[in-house]
Symmetry: C2
Subunit: 365 residues, 2 copies
């Protein structure tokens, strides 16, 4: 059976790492305790499996986990989900590497042009290619086009937009791309050497499709897109729909350190989420109570124009904590119990009733 072999770098002492690794394998696959998995197919073909633990340093280990390919559906967003969906929220885990199995590689063709294709298009062999950026943003399209012309006259192979250029009022995408591509083509004719202009595409999936159409109509030879900014799956969908090389930009790819109250509380609400799940304190994740309260606070603020968003504290919640959480958050929450409710699958209705009664009772207290 096909599996992705994923390496996680885990901060844990040697005596604990085996248990931590097992927990990680469950979190990134079935997301329940092993005891809840009573189905043979799920246990043998779906559940993640620890295949190696190697000590890197004092308290630091590389844990290798084999995840079943079938869980990814061979789709980009879901693959990210299986690689690092929940464990990205664990302070002690870093996603370090992944080995894709053959069926995966067959399904994703990778770069369509790559190094050889780019060299071919630029007729530039056995030397480094050169690239320069059009900036600063705020300049109108004709000024950017003039810069583009100068750079090509100077011999630059690829002229890219600054990644900050999107579809702003001062240099709208269609206008900028037309002007810059024409300037590039003209300068390239003058030097007698090929050059490529790579406009920056930033926007929603529908906008990206529209921008790609404009670029194609203008004869643009390359595109600049930041996968972490537009979303990995949207990036991949775009790549497979265009017939020119794509230059990836790392913008937002380090989005390491967005404060959780901002990301989960304020920004997800900005986007229109009506309710937001977040890792509750005292559960499987390391968020502090203060962080959780701050997320809930952002979600439910009433001092602005947006409707309050419902906080959904989750992650290892058990029935016994219902009253406590009501004390902390009040009643404008949704209590989410996952695995612990399924522990006693034979009596699920009864356990669910205990849970919901605790929630209802809490309101009365």
């Amino acid at each position: 059976m096909s599996r992705l072999v994923v390496t996680y770098r885990v901060r844990a002492p040697s005596r604990d790492v085996a248990a931590v690794a097992e927990t990680l394998a469950l979190e990134q696959s079935v997301e329940v305790a092993a005891s809840v998995v009573r189905d043979d197919f799920v246990r043998d073909e779906v559940m993640g499996r620890v295949v190696g633990i190697a000590r890197v340093d004092e308290g630091l280990h590389d844990v290798r986990i084999a995840l079943a390919s079938v869980t990814t559906g061979h789709e980009v967003a879901q693959t990210l989900n299986m690689l690092f969906g929940n464990s990205s929220l664990h302070e002690h885990v870093e996603l370090a590497d992944v080995e894709f199995p053959d069926d995966f590689v067959a399904r994703f063709p990778g770069p369509r042009f790559g190094i050889a294709g780019l060299r071919e298009r630029l007729d530039a062999h056995a030397r480094p290619l050169t690239c320069a950026a059009l900036k600063p943003q705020g300049l109108p399209a004709d000024r950017l086009a003039a810069l583009c012309r100068d750079l090509v006259l100077g011999g630059v192979d690829v002229v890219k937009d600054d990644h900050g250029l999107a579809d702003q009022a001062y240099a709208p995408f269609a206008q900028r791309v037309a002007a810059c591509q024409r300037a590039l083509a003209q300068a390239s004719r003058e030097t007698g050497r090929p050059a490529l202009y790579a406009p920056s595409l930033v926007g929603s999936p529908a906008q990206l499709a529209g921008f790609a159409r404009v670029a194609r109509e203008e004869g643009v030879g390359m595109l600049l897109v930041a996968p972490a900014l537009v979303g990995f799956a949207a990036f991949h969908e775009l790549v497979t729909s265009v017939d020119v090389p794509v230059l990836a930009h790392p913008a937002y790819a380090g989005a390491a350190r967005v404060a959780p109250p901002l990301l989960l509380g304020k920004l997800f609400r900005w986007l229109g989420a009506d309710a937001v799940i977040y890792p509750n304190y005292g559960g499987r994740f390391a968020y502090t109570r203060a962080t959780c309260e701050a997320i809930a606070h952002e979600a439910r603020r009433t001092d602005g124009a947006w409707k309050p968003m419902l906080p959904v504290p989750a992650g290892g919640l058990a029935v016994e904590r219902v009253a406590e959480l009501r004390g902390v958050y009040g009643d404008d929450i949704m209590l989410l119990i996952g695995g612990s409710l399924l522990m006693a699958a034979d009596d699920l209705v009864a356990r669910a009733r205990t849970f919901t009664q605790a929630a209802h009772a809490a309101a009365a207290s």
Copy 2:
């Protein structure tokens, strides 16, 4: 003029923080040195502006920067770009908060239902709402539907898919959603109480649209989507196209610690990027030379089925470093010079020529 006021938590000693803040304001707006900005409009209306610095702790400061709304185009992906595009790659910077101006709030309506709308739909007032998850993945649709039924009979308000459920072979989306929604509706009729089923939508933008259509046809009352997984802009586009409440999941939202060689080298290549820009060592970002070499190594591996992807080291590269970089990376790279080329805008052609000649000469050496 409308501006977003963004708070960054910056690790820097008191004596340096003013300069670090100015650099940050430039990085997140015009992305060139202030001396390169010679245009009045750009300087006054586009360039980021430091509006406050507050000491939090020894070597830790909150830096408030006003970013022009016009740079965002009032679009989601570009807003992320302006908030934290490049600075997400800076080890010393954390995105802590943002205050949206009125024009921004007017353009983004936020949650369409929110807490009150959810309570209304569930006819559940003045008590915590309850939620439980269908899992583990690997179970067929009818087994998940049976769990769904039991949970509703037990009084649960919202039954959500495990966020790991996507469109896998063992419980395809359409089949699972039909079965679970029917089970929920039947159980809800039996208890006489409303309940909502929130299936998990994970996939590319086109797939998300298809899943939403299926959910609507089945009469599903809520959706579960992870913005960080599907992409913020794709999430927002989906939210504005459906007429049921949306529950946000934090999967991948902590994607703090993806190793750069994996993220930028291997994963971006997997998605089909032909070339990848990354922060070079010794520039504006803190990546080590070893990290950069590892990114280039992953990008150019020839031991697999994928075409080599072109490494594009960038971020503060100057002409003087061309020979050095060729020594480190060899010639299968693209050298990207941005701001430093524009320093002498009057003589851009000549400076560009110096740059490209250095690259060409390096090849001959």
